[in-house]
Amino acid sequence: MRRHAAALMLAVGLLGGVYAAPATWHAALGIAVLAAGWAVDPLVAKRVGAPRRWVGMTAILAAIGLWLGPMDGKLGGVSISAAGALAATTMTARALGLVLLGSAAGALYPAERALARLRRTRLQRFAEVLVVALDLVPSLVDALRAARARMGIFETFVFAVEHASALADTVARRLSAPEEQG
């Protein structure tokens, strides 16, 4: 829990830095937070994505910025946009901050806890149907794959609709007598 909270603080710090610090600092801030994230909370850092992915994204954005931004510099006689490249580092740092914030918040308050809480409210019926739907999905995926292996696309789609329609009656019965179903 403390690790997740620390990751959340890192995200807030990075977003604050993106707004407060000059653009030339944003790349360094992003790298520092990414490294600190892996050190502090590897679980959340994994959800944020591999550092390689972020480096790749920054490179692509920087290349687009160099090409499409206002031409304010020269590199080997070719006009480039330094401001565009700098804007790309700001964009990536901001995206990293937001993704880290979402991942840390998700780890601090997992969906299962939200579902348990939902069960105690007036939305109890919705929580019930969600549990039933979650139970159904794996077998439905198997059924769809099996159907696709022997049918065309249209027939598979009709099968999906027909199967769900038949299942709806069973689910309705289950909802009407949950205590009997256990």
């Binding site: 994994k46 959800r47 954005l61 687009i64 910025g65 499409l68 804007a87 700001t90 964009m91 990536t92 901001r94 995206a95 937001l98 993704v99 979402g102 991942s103 969906a111 299962e112 579902l115 019926r125 919705f126 149907v129 969600l130 039933v132 739907a133 979650l134 159904l136 999905v137 439905l140 995926v141 059924a143 769809l144 794959r145 696709r148 249209f154 789609f157 009709v158 999906a160 609709v161 027909e162 199967h163 769900a164 329609s165 038949a166 299942l167 709806a168 009656d169 069973t170 689910v171 309705a172 019965r173 289950r174 909802l175 009407s176 007598a177 009997e180």
Partner: protein, 198 residues
């Protein structure tokens, strides 16, 4: 429990649950296929598939609100799935179900509402991609897209229109894909209904 003891509310939620779960299964199956083949604009294809399935649901169970409820169930399934990328697909599913629900609100599932709902759902998938990028990367994304579209206009020798002449045909194509898929769903829903009646 006899069928007569099932209330309309239970029947409603039964359909929302079964179709929401099946939509989740469809997303997983089609999504895996698209991912494996690295098909571009996979989000649009997934949205079109979802719209088709929603239209089919409205055919077999013509009750107002059921599409939105099925969307909420499917989004909930997505939220609780072990995948790391859940927020984007969840928002997409909810908005798509809302758009198809709105299209079918007046006169149920028919060729016109299906065309409208499918086109809106597919266009949303495209817009959501751009909106997500704006939220994540900030306002510079808009300037980048504008610049890119203006350059595309120059390459294609089109009259300057601020990118509209490039975006409009593309958006029309996406809307057409969504509409065609939803009409496919309408046909599939009718076929399923006929089979169940037999």
């Amino acid at each position: 429990v006899s069928a007569s003891r099932i209330t309309e509310s239970e029947r409603f939620w039964g359909h929302a649950t079964a179709f929401g779960a099946m939509w989740g299964a469809l997303e997983a199956t089609v999504g895996t296929f698209l991912h494996a083949l690295k098909i571009p604009f996979g989000g649009t294809v997934l949205a079109a598939t979802g719209a088709a399935f929603l239209v089919a649901l409205r055919v077999v169970y013509p009750k107002r609100g059921v599409l939105l409820a099925a969307g909420a169930v499917c989004a909930g399934v997505k939220l609780l799935s072990p995948s790391t990328n859940v927020v984007g697909p969840m928002v997409g599913i909810l908005v798509e179900s809302l758009l198809v629900e709105l299209a079918c609100l007046g006169f149920g599932a028919n060729p016109i509402s299906a065309t409208l709902g499918g086109a809106l759902a597919a266009l949303w998938a495209l817009s959501q991609k751009v909106l997500t990028q704006i939220v994540l990367y900030g306002a510079p994304v808009v300037a980048l897209y504008k610049e890119l579209l203006q350059r595309a206009e120059k390459w294609l020798h089109l009259a300057p229109s601020g990118g509209v002449r490039v975006v409009a045909p593309f958006a029309a194509l996406v809307a057409l894909i969504g509409a065609a898929a939803a009409l496919f769903g309408l046909r599939a829903g009718r076929a399923a209904l006929a089979r169940r009646a037999r």
